[in-house]
Structure formats: C-alpha cells, structure tokens
Subunit: 316 residues, 2 copies
Amino acid sequence: MLTNLPSTVVVREASLRDGLQSVATIVPIENKLAWLREAYAAGLREIEVGSFVPARLLPQMEGTADVVAEARTLPDLFVSVLVPNLRGAEMAMASGAHMMTLPLSASHAHSLANLRKAPDEVVAEVARIRAARDASGSKTLIEGGVGTAFGCTIQGAVDPAEVVRLVGQLLDAGADRISLADTVGYATPDVVHDLFDQAVRLAGDQFWSAHFHDTRGLGIANVLAAMDVGATRFDACLGGLGGCPHAPGASGNVSTEDLNYLFTSMGISTGLSMEKLLALRQRIADWLPHETLRGVIWQAGLPKIYPFASTTPAHA
Amino acid sequence: MLTNLPSTVVVREASLRDGLQSVATIVPIENKLAWLREAYAAGLREIEVGSFVPARLLPQMEGTADVVAEARTLPDLFVSVLVPNLRGAEMAMASGAHMMTLPLSASHAHSLANLRKAPDEVVAEVARIRAARDASGSKTLIEGGVGTAFGCTIQGAVDPAEVVRLVGQLLDAGADRISLADTVGYATPDVVHDLFDQAVRLAGDQFWSAHFHDTRGLGIANVLAAMDVGATRFDACLGGLGGCPHAPGASGNVSTEDLNYLFTSMGISTGLSMEKLLALRQRIADWLPHETLRGVIWQAGLPKIYPFASTTPAHA
C-alpha cells in the first residue's frame, strides 16, 4: 500500500450535477455560471456541469445546455454531463459536451426503482447511444457509470462479479469510459481494493473515475484503496454536497476540498488552489442557505507543515 | 495494501482520559464509573481510565484512583492510565493499574510547552520510572507514548528519523510498550505507512498502539495505513472526543464507533457491540451537553449489508 503513489491525480468536480440534484433549492442560472467559473479558476479541469433530464423531474437541472455552452468557452476544460437515455444523449451531443455519462445501477432493484430499467436494458441503451453517436459524427465520449457497485439501500448486497460483468458488457456495447460509484456509502476499503483492481484491469485505459460518498466516514479511506490499485481520477463535490434522490441516506460525496487536502498533503499534485476551493465553498454555502455542507478542512485549517507550493494551481 | 488484514484488532478506549481532559465540563465520579462500566459492557477490554496529574492542573482527572479501583473489579479489563512523571507513576503503581503511559513529544518545542522537558529528559524519566518499578516489585507496565510524531502546531515538521530515534531510546530506557500518536491531526497516510513500518519493526512485540486524531478528516485513512504495516491496536474516543490542551485545534480523536464500523464492515473482529457503543455515545452526549461530539455512523446508521453477527460482543 502507498508504495507506488501517482504523482498526479484528477479531481472531477460533480457539485453542479450530483450536488445540485440532491438539494431542494433551485439555483438560478447566473449563480450556476459563477459556480462553474470559480471552480475553473480554482484549477478544476474536469467538471460535470449538469444532467439532460426533463425539468419536470429535476428542476434543479434546468439550463444545463446553457451551463455547457459557458463551460465550452473555458480553455482546456473537459465538460461532462449526465444523461439518462438516448433522448438525453442527443441533447448532450447537440450541446457540445465532451462526455456524457449514462448511469447504470449494478443493483437490479435500485436500477428498476431509479431508472425503471434492468441493468442489461441500460447496456442496450448504451449500444443505441453509441450507434447514434457514431452515425452523427459527434465526438462526445460515452461514459458508463456503474453505480450501487458496493450495495444499495433497497437490495442490500451487490455481487462484485455482477459489477465486473456489467463493466465488460458496457465496454462491449461501446462505452468509451467506465467509472465505478458507491452511490449510497456502502463501500469498504477491502472491497474497493478488490473491485477497482478488477475493473481497472478489465477496462485498462478506458477506466475513468472513482465516485465515493462519505455517508459512513469511509470516503477518504476508499479513495486511498482505489488509488492503490491504479485509480487516478476521483469525483468529488465542494462542501461534500450530493446524494441520490432515489437512495435514502446516501447524502454526501467526498468533499473536494478534503480530497484535495488528502492528495496534496501526500505530495500528489491536483493542480487545485485550496484557497480558491474554500472561497467557492463559502459562496456555495451562501447560495444554499438551507443545506448542510460537509467536510472538515475548511474548519480545521491547513497544518503548518502543509506543502504550500501546491496550493498554486498548476494551470495558473 | 489490504491484502493481509488482521482477523482481530483491539480498540483502546481513551475517552475517560484523552476525551475528558479536553473538555471544560467536570464529570462527577459516579458518571465516570457508569461511563467505564458501559464501555466495558460494550465489549471494550482495554481502557485508559484517567491521568495521575495534579487536580489543580486538570480537575477533570480528579478521582482517577477511584476509577482504576472500579476498573480493576471488571474481569479481563486491561487498565491503563497516563502519568506525566515519576510522581504520577508512583500513584499509578499504587493504584494497581496494569499499565502507565508516559507521554513524550517528539517535537522539541511541543515537549517544552506541554511537559516542560526536552524529549531526552522524558526518556531519562522513563529510566527512573523503570528503576522505581523494578525496585518496588510492581507489575505495572510502562508505555512510552510518542506524541506529535507527525508534526506539531508549534514547531511544524518533526523529522521521522527523530521519532524512530526516540522509540529506540525509550526501549533502551526500559519502556515495556511503545505507541505512536498524531496528537494534532497532522499525519497523512503515506507518512503513517512509513513511520509505523519503522516503529513496528524496531519495537517488535513491544509495539502497542496507534493514536490518531481526525482533525483534518484523515483519521480513518491513517488507521488503514498503520494497519497495513502491522498495527493491530488503535486508540479511539467515543463520540470523537479528545484533544491536547497544549495543542490548539487538535480536537477530535478517531471516534470509537466509526472505527468499529471500519473494522467490522471489513470482517475484522473487535469484540464490540455497535448498539451498546452508540447507546453510551448518547449518554456521553447527555453528560457533556456543551461539547460537540463527532463521528458519522451514529447518524448514518448501519448499511443493510453490515455483518450483524459481529455486533454481538465476543466477550458476551
């Protein structure tokens, strides 16, 4: 463990999607755009900016096309969006997003409750999206995001072999990228270590991101375990926002600022400015006055031994 | 990493010492005794029950001899106390505690501020305590507890080589056991991994406990890193109480109940009852109405996939 740390990792900011979809507050488009620009200014270069879902289902996600348009003006920003199906994928491709993520629940029960499809029907949808993408000439990449990979609140256990099977199916169906998510905070470091090891080996360069919730305090430990077997890209939300509207008690992604502290305190470069992340966290707290933000580094402060050089964004 | 997990670990409960010394509230002796008995009933079999320090300095620690006396009536309970010097050690031996811990600060500056002695003077005190112990025929073990092993708020960095040197000096001076502590929440998993590896190799069977604060969210990850190189005993405080009165911002030991979740969710036996730990946490919240308790598992609840069998104490 920890004997072969990467020198650089990527933090993919998910607060504009996973964060906002979990809160009751509707954030006006001008605040979303400010949120996006300040995240970019803090050094974030991969941002999931929203979902192409019907506004009647998730009014928080209204205006995603406008956020993508703004995001596409920011140099070197890799812009991703979540899409539930082919219809959403068509909107994502039209928007010019660099990547669209189709969520798949490895838990059959969660998949039916959340997506109204069995996991293999989602795989079939990925194949349809791939065909449509290739026919259109669009360059938008397709990410298969395997959620509830460590269990779910409805079904309980999810067999790791089923997760690995679905990763293979998604690749076969034409997904360009694969990610694994602990949607409800059930993952433990030992299982993370085993399952990411298998998924990273299977997907190779197509393995993309590790997505952990910190519901039960193991988020950072799970990041460490995934990094130990080769994961180098991690989803996070400023202020630990996030959750799944269909997974009770799932709230709380790993917080971006705490994750940045984990990495940079170990000398792993993220390209992020801690100062700017914390300033944006404060603005988000103002924009979401009824939400409880999480994370600890904003309160504890940086230690005297913190490598201050790395607080300067690499992209500055 | 995580390929050679221990089947069993020991959680040493430190809330009656490290927890209470950090709070303003003076807990009456009857509540301390109830706290002790309920911790025992939850399965804890190693408890640090107090300090033998002058009551004028730490009035929270008054009555430690009475707590030790009660603790000695509980079958198979290993009772430890903190002592600042030979005078305290004499009281500890007279009380019948199984072990007395002499804290040493690896940070020279923190040592002077906290203990008014340089680290090597503390080593000399351990030698005097060892001589007095052996002369008296007492069976009380001597633990050298190396604090600020990962840096401190006064001095900043602490050289790992200095920590290893002090471990060697403590062993040479006659310490029976050695522990390492991140007194102020500065430790990171990579440094923990390296330093515990060296300390465990050097102290062998005399290596005792790993003590982490969760000030900056890395407590659980640090436990994982220490366990990966052979640590099998971990200090913790119910409700994440704790801190060092001489280390500003140091508050928050790893919480006993969250640590128990980490271990048992990975199938590692602790012998603890989660239900009883959480019930005691609630009583502590009542006893300390002005303190903020920490930890998350009490709020998030156990996942559906939690191995319920392990909630029954092995000692029941």
